[in-house]
């Protein structure tokens, strides 16, 4: 097969795919997020069962302070808003604004992680001290892993939205939209986590 033939073939396949089907990548992502959410649901269920069934042993310390997690909640909620702003800017074809808002979002994510680490270092209990301490670190740690991955992806797409030669444009918004959905998902999980771990 000559090169000309194969490039024709590529064009044919590409036009076939886009002509027959809407973009179903977002659908796949939503399915994945449902699966991811079920992992958290399993952790929450375990934590709530422990809380109902297993008493805290005598002398064990498990106390949480509210100020840092409250600040973290505000940070993540604001970052959801700034991410939304960047999407709006891209719709208006203002790539430099998009990039600016994305970097603000990433900075908020990094601040969240720093606050989280600060909280870890100042808590009066460690990972193996007791059942609730372990569950606390497992839950917040697993969520922190999600925030870390999200922040990295935001940094990557902020590079890809650079005004000249950027891959993400008005015409190709999917990467931005996908990371945005993921980010809102991680924020939502945090709100649930905040209520269950800190407020209940």
């Amino acid at each position: 097969m000559t090169t000309l033939d194969s490039s024709k073939e590529i064009n044919k396949i590409e036009s076939d795919v886009s002509a027959h089907h809407e973009d179903f990548r977002m659908f796949g992502l939503i399915t994945f997020l449902i699966a991811d959410g079920m992992t958290f649901a399993g952790f929450f269920a375990a934590y709530l069962t422990y809380k109902a069934v297993n008493p805290l042993p005598d002398g064990a310390i498990y106390e949480l302070e509210l100020p840092i997690p409250t600040l973290n909640t505000i940070l993540l909620l604001v970052s959801s808003a700034t991410f939304h702003k960047s999407g709006k800017a891209l719709l208006k074809n203002k790539n430099s604004d998009t990039q600016k808002w994305l970097i603000v979002t990433a900075l908020l994510g990094i601040t969240f992680l720093i606050c989280q680490l600060f909280e870890y270092f100042n808590l009066p209990f460690g990972l193996t001290d007791n059942l609730f301490a372990s569950t606390f670190y497992a839950l917040t740690g697993f969520h922190g892993l999600h925030v870390t991955l999200g922040t990295l992806m935001i940094l990557i797409i902020s590079w890809q939205t650079r005004p000249k030669e950027g891959r993400i444009t008005n015409q190709n918004m999917f990467p931005l939209e996908a990371v945005e959905l993921y980010w809102h998902f991680v924020d939502g999980i945090w709100v649930i986590l905040f209520i269950i771990l800190y407020l209940l």
Binding site: E9, A35, M38
Partner: protein, 546 residues
């Protein structure tokens, strides 16, 4: 974790390796991936089967003289894990799903071809890792359920490798599930309605929903278990204030639906095979669809029936007993429909049909013992005895593996363009059916009389019945020979099958056999009535469309 997958494929399939080499490549063609799943799964089936033979040789005598007790525990754990996670789940979902679903929805490939290839290529390394753990410091010994505290206190390196391997296989399964849901919902040919899809699509949709909803919970649980082993936390360790019953709840929240992940696709496949070989429309299409979805919903809320002896409170026992008994209703509807499909049909007795009928017989038996096991007083009596072993082998071997063989006989001409040898096929069926029932039927008696499962030694009074069972296992091992001979002979010099040897109406037969790379030359046909047998006008139209 989001992976951006370009639907516009920069590496078109025509540029990938041709011939047998493509089965060893990172191919994006759903047909190649399906065969990769099937062959890879079958190789692991041979390993798992060898382990099963070792177990039955050990159990032919009451003392542990064939292998030491700890080796027996490892063999048992590996047998269960390999058969479930590396043979049945990948083959009945991944292999047939990948091969057939794009045809059934009228697509040229799965929704995410690259994710599809990733999902397959996760399997061989994690399977090899699992098998290799035996040669390092010994494989896991806690059974495929890995219940703590047993899994925390037995040698740890094998258990950790087991956890990593199952996590990877779970990931593969989730990626596959996402792909199937997206393909069935989003990639249907324009004009094709959901209620016109062949039944296997519905079965795979239900299965994939279960995969997506329940497998992540298993992953989370195993992560916590690995913390207990590696970091000395106490999630499931009672010594450190943990709770073993929480592990059981989380584990069975996946592993009961896993039973349906293993049998629902088989239900779908048998619904494709029976109408073709009895030349009748599938009886009760709509009730089939609703019973699949009913099984999906009920399957998610019955998990604690595995835990009636774990100090379950009475209200929980009552709820889970009733919910489990209810599953018999949709399942019974399906069996009624299959028998009604056969009733008055023009039945051809060939290998595919024999295995499908064997499935119906075995599964009804396994289903009845399943309903019995859901009853608390009976379950407490036979819990963790050979009765349970007999029950679930009737489901997964007598049910699913029979259908895997049936499907191989049915779709072999599609994949290769050659017919399989019917005489060898019938020999294969006869030895498998007799061997299977000889192996597992006596185990009901053993369990009722109190022989515990998962133990290398037993009371000498059970020896005779155990030897009958081992004889059956020997027959099952032998039955693989005519099958493999048949496969190799048929690939090499089987009779040419033509495009549609069964005169079937489902869409995968409306193209050439073996199919071209993009499934159809030109437009995909619109199959509004995949089971329109016995309707001459319809069949004529269908032939014209080709």
């Amino acid at each position: 974790m989001t992976i951006s997958i370009d639907s516009q494929d920069s590496n078109p399939k025509s540029l990938q390796p041709k011939g047998w080499l493509r089965y060893f490549s990172f191919s994006l063609d759903h047909k190649v991936i399906g065969i990769q799943y099937l062959v890879c799964g079958f190789l692991f089936y041979l390993i798992g089967g060898t382990l099963a033979s070792a177990i039955r040789i050990e159990l032919a005598s009451p003392m542990s003289d064939f292998m030491p007790r700890d080796v027996y525990n490892q063999v048992l754990t590996l047998h269960g894990t390999i058969m479930i996670f590396l043979w049945i789940v990948p083959v009945v979902n991944g292999a047939f799903g990948n091969y057939l679903i794009p045809f059934y929805v009228g697509a040229r490939d799965m929704a995410f071809p690259r994710l599809n290839a990733v999902a397959f290529w996760l399997i061989p390394p994690s399977g090899l890792m699992l098998v290799a753990s035996y040669f390092i410091e010994g494989a896991a010994q806690a059974g495929w359920t890995a219940y703590p505290p047993l899994s925390i206190t037995t040698p740890q390196s094998g258990q950790i490798i087991w956890i990593m391997s199952v996590l990877l296989l779970g990931g593969s399964s989730i990626f596959g599930g996402i792909n199937f849901i997206a393909t069935i919902i989003k990639l249907r040919r324009p004009g094709l309605k959901l209620m016109q899809l062949p039944m296997y699509c519905w079965a795979m949709l239900g299965t994939s929903l279960l995969v997506v909803l329940s497998t992540p919970v298993l992953a989370g649980t195993l992560i916590l278990l690995s913390f207990d082993i590696v970091a000395n936390t106490g999630f499931f360790n009672p010594v450190l204030g943990g709770n073993v019953v929480v592990y059981q709840h989380l584990f069975w929240f996946y592993s009961h639906p896993a039973v349906y992940i293993m049998v629902l696709p088989a239900f779908g496949l048998v619904s494709e095979i029976l109408p073709v070989h009895s030349r009748k429309p599938l009886f009760g299409y709509t009730t089939m669809v609703f019973s699949i979805m009913g099984i999906v919903v009920l399957g998610l809320v019955v998990w604690a029936h595995h835990m009636f002896t774990s100090g379950t409170p009475p209200w929980m026992r009552l709820f889970f007993t009733i919910a489990t008994a209810f599953i018999a209703v949709p399942t019974g509807i399906k069996f009624f429909n299959w028998v009604a499909t056969l009733w008055g049909g023009k039945i051809s007795i060939n290998s595919a049909m024999l295995f499908s009928c064997g499935f119906i017989i075995n599964f009804v038996f396994g289903g009845i013992t399943g309903v019995a096991l859901a009853q608390v007083p009976f379950d407490i009596h036979v819990h963790d005895t050979y009765f349970v072993v007999a029950h679930f082998h009737y489901i997964v071997y007598g049910g699913t593996v029979f259908i895997i063989f049936s499907s191989i006989y049915h779709w072999f001409p599609k994949v290769t363009g050659k017919l399989m040898n019917e005489k060898l096929g019938i020999v294969h069926f006869a030895i498998t059916f007799i061997g299977f029932n000889l192996c597992f039927a006596p185990q009901h008696w053993l369990g009722l009389n109190g022989m515990p499962r998962r133990v290398a030694e037993y009371d000498p009074q059970f020896q005779f019945v155990n030897q009958i069972s081992s004889l059956g296992a020997l027959l099952m091992a032998i039955s693989t020979v005519p099958f493999l001979v048949n496969i190799f002979l048929s690939i090499k010099n089987g009779k040419d099958s033509g495009d549609n040897p069964w005169n079937a109406l489902t869409p995968e037969w409306l193209t050439s056999s073996p199919p071209p790379v993009e499934n159809w030359e030109g437009e995909a046909p619109l199959v509004e009535e995949p089971y329109g047998y016995g309707n001459p006008i319809y069949q004529e139209n269908q032939q014209k469309k080709r």
